[in-house]
């Protein structure tokens, strides 16, 4: 039984069957990649996991509890954090404040009215945020305006913000899309380090095969809304069905 169990999930948008009969099991503390050509339904599947979309059929269980019908912040509080394709950070805030927000969310839950205390006098949160920034090698950027950073740094910050919540499952949606080679390699190293050092399960959606094969321990190939194969990376590489899905019939 994996930490994330997706059973018979289907989702239809008008005339388009975006997902049908998706079954997926993500093992605890593993790195699981979901790959597939454009339009295969990868992002739709991800949106179904985090509460942005509700599937028409099937069930999504996280750690034995259903996530269906819950709002994104409730699902997040269950222990699922998500990294977006374009980094979603608080651009108007400083890097330090960006890191403090998930620390507050972890400590105080979805809402707490602390309108009088000075935020920097909350020592435990400040310390946690600082140590998280150090882990991410961003301590020197703490006073920077988050929006003014490079894309690679924004990605790093976003991942750090997700980790600050100590999630049990980290979902990444094409974390290296639109990145320079050097930034991509940095991100791969960072993710490797995270999965080695922390008690965390990582599910990653990715286009870049280099990233997938350097990280994943298990790979699910999605095509036209259904899983084609699920196997270990070695077996996926040469799998005829995968080549077919990616390169077309003639390959």
């Amino acid at each position: 039984m994996g930490i994330l169990e997706v059973k018979d999930v289907g989702k239809r948008f008008g005339g388009l069957q975006a997902l049908s009969d998706v079954n997926l099991s993500v093992k605890e503390n593993s790195v699981h990649a979901i790959i597939g050509p454009n339009g295969a339904g990868k992002s739709t599947l991800l949106n179904c996991l985090v509460g942005k979309l509700i599937p028409d059929t099937g069930s999504v269980m996280f750690d034995g509890q259903s996530v269906l019908g819950r709002t994104p912040h409730e699902i997040n509080q269950m222990g699922i954090s998500r990294v977006f394709q374009t980094p979603e950070i608080f651009g108007d805030l400083s890097v330090m404040e960006n890191m403090m927000i998930p620390c507050f969310a972890k400590r105080d839950g979805a809402f707490s009215l602390q309108a009088i205390a000075n935020m920097f006098s909350e020592k435990d949160v400040v310390e946690r945020a600082e140590s998280m920034l150090e882990d991410m090698n961003m301590a020197d950027k703490r006073h920077m305006h988050a929006a003014s950073m490079s894309r690679g740094d924004k990605r790093r910050l976003e991942i750090g913000m997700c980790l600050a919540q100590e999630p049990r499952l980290l979902l990444l949606d094409e974390p290296t899309a639109g990145m320079a080679r050097a930034d991509t390699n940095n991100t791969i190293d960072l993710l490797k380090q995270i999965s080695d050092e922390r008690d965390i399960t990582i599910a990653i959606i990715e286009h870049d095969m280099h990233v997938v094969f350097s990280l994943a321990q298990r790979i699910t190939v999605l095509a036209q809304g259904t899983p084609l194969v699920e196997d270990d990376p070695e077996n996926i590489k040469g799998h005829p069905k995968v080549r077919e899905a990616y390169l077309g019939e003639t390959a």
Binding site: V50, T71, P72, H73, N76, Q77, S81, R82, F84, E88, I89, F90, G91, D92, L93, E97, M100, I101, P102, F104, A105, K106, D108, G109, A110, F111, S112, L113, Q114, A115, I116, A117, N118, M119, F120, E122, V125, E158, M161, Q165
Partner: protein, 399 residues
């Protein structure tokens, strides 16, 4: 100091100094000089400065921090006023319970309105709040006449005898603070200058300082940071396990209570209310104040409120004769020409001046008057630094 960082504490001290010394600062011109009409140091106007300052500070907690533009905030001010005057009519002429009543009534109403309107954001939220405010106006104007006095509004009459008061038969009650009449003033004559210290003004000023202090605390608190986070990125907010709804609702209620406080103080200063206080132009005015002063800054809304109220009361008093007097030294033709050019911008035309000023600020100083001040300060500091040891690249924006 007082739980504030040094910079914020200094700002609070400056604001405290300015408000407490306002009777001097706003009356710089001698009584007999031609410039005396630019003096703003009379109780009525000073009270308006601080009361609208409170209103704008509260509005800025919602608009400046969360970015939710409420276009119906005057409704809370009006409802606070009605609450306060009923408290005075029925219970006590002391202003303290009246002001508390105003805050509570406005807060409850804001909770109800916010609960409904905050389901939407952006322009839909603005329109919903506008609709609520106009509905409240219409209710106060006609439907609820028994409670609101309709078109003529409510005032304290000789027939009112509040529960805790010892009014003589037929005596009209006056708002007071433990016996001190709100209209009591102490006048100080120094040479040709006349300075008026009014009890009502100082009570309103203390309320404003308290509101300002509370606003600083909110701005610097974890809650304030969450509100800024909502403005910055709601997606990340909910995917960080935070629920934006209660945060915005709390901000909405707090800012509604600020408006209620302003409404209660208005009644305390001048014991009458009319529905026009809730009209949409009144809601628009507080938006202008906040943007003119600087959205999301601490001091901006107060400056904006001061600027607009000053223009409304001083600029609108200049008339054609005054202009002719000013330009009397010029040849007749030129005098008439100048007066003709300037005339549309004064008197009843003060809105035109406000409109031009507003456009200039929005286009050239998106950060409002506060940004203007910062730029001047930076230019001055930059020059000094250049003189001493070359340019310094420290341009961290101060709030």
């Amino acid at each position: 100091m007082l739980g504030l960082e040094k910079k914020d504490f200094q700002l609070l001290l400056v604001v405290a100094g300015l408000t407490l010394l306002a009777p001097f600062i706003l009356n710089p011109f001698p009584e007999s000089s031609g410039m005396a009409q630019f003096n703003a140091g009379y109780p009525d106007l000073m009270q308006r400065f601080v009361i609208f300052g409170i209103f704008a500070i509260g509005f800025n907690i919602l608009f400046g921090l969360t970015g939710y533009l409420s276009f119906g905030h005057a409704a809370f001010l009006g409802i606070g006023s009605y609450g306060a005057i009923w408290m005075m009519k029925l219970i006590s002429l002391n202003v303290i319970p009246a002001i508390f009543m105003a805050i509570i009534v406005a807060g409850i109403f804001a909770l109800a309105v916010g609960f409904i309107t905050l389901r939407r954001s952006g322009i839909y939220f603005s329109i919903l709040t506008l609709a609520f405010a106009q509905m409240s106006y219409a209710l106060a104007y006609s439907v609820l006449t028994p409670i609101t006095g309709g078109e003529t509004g409510l005032q304290i009459k000789s027939s009112d005898s509040p529960l805790f008061s010892n009014l003589e038969e037929g005596e009209i009650g006056r708002a007071n603070l433990f016996g001190m009449d709100m209209r009591a003033s102490f006048e100080l004559n120094i040479g040709d200058w006349l300075f008026t210290f009014n009890a009502g003004y100082y009570i309103a000023a203390i309320a404003m300082l308290a509101s300002f202090y509370l606003a600083i605390r909110i701005f610097r608190s974890p809650f304030g940071m969450m509100l800024r986070a909502i403005k910055s990125n709601q997606t990340r907010m909910s995917y960080t396990g935070l629920n934006p709804r209660p945060h915005t609702l709390a901000a909405f209620v707090i800012s509604g209570m600020y408006a209620g406080l302003a409404g209660g103080l208005m009644v305390a200063m001048d014991t009458q209310v009319g529905p026009e206080r809730m009209f949409w132009t009144a809601s628009g005015e507080v938006v202008l104040m906040t943007i003119l002063g600087g959205v999301g800054t601490l001091i901006g809304p107060v400056l904006g409120a001061g600027a607009i109220k000053y223009m409304e009361n001083i600029l609108s008093k200049i008339n054609k004769d005054v202009l002719h007097e000013w330009f009397a030294f010029l040849p007749d033709g030129l005098e008439d020409l100048l007066v003709t050019i300037i005339y549309p911008f004064i008197g009843k035309g003060w809105h035109l001046t406000l409109g031009i000023l507003f456009m200039l600020v929005v286009i050239y100083l998106p950060g409002g008057l506060v940004e203007g001040g910062q730029r001047i300060a930076r230019a001055l500091r930059g020059k000094k630094a250049n003189d001493e040891d070359g340019p310094k690249a420290s341009t961290e924006p101060a709030e």
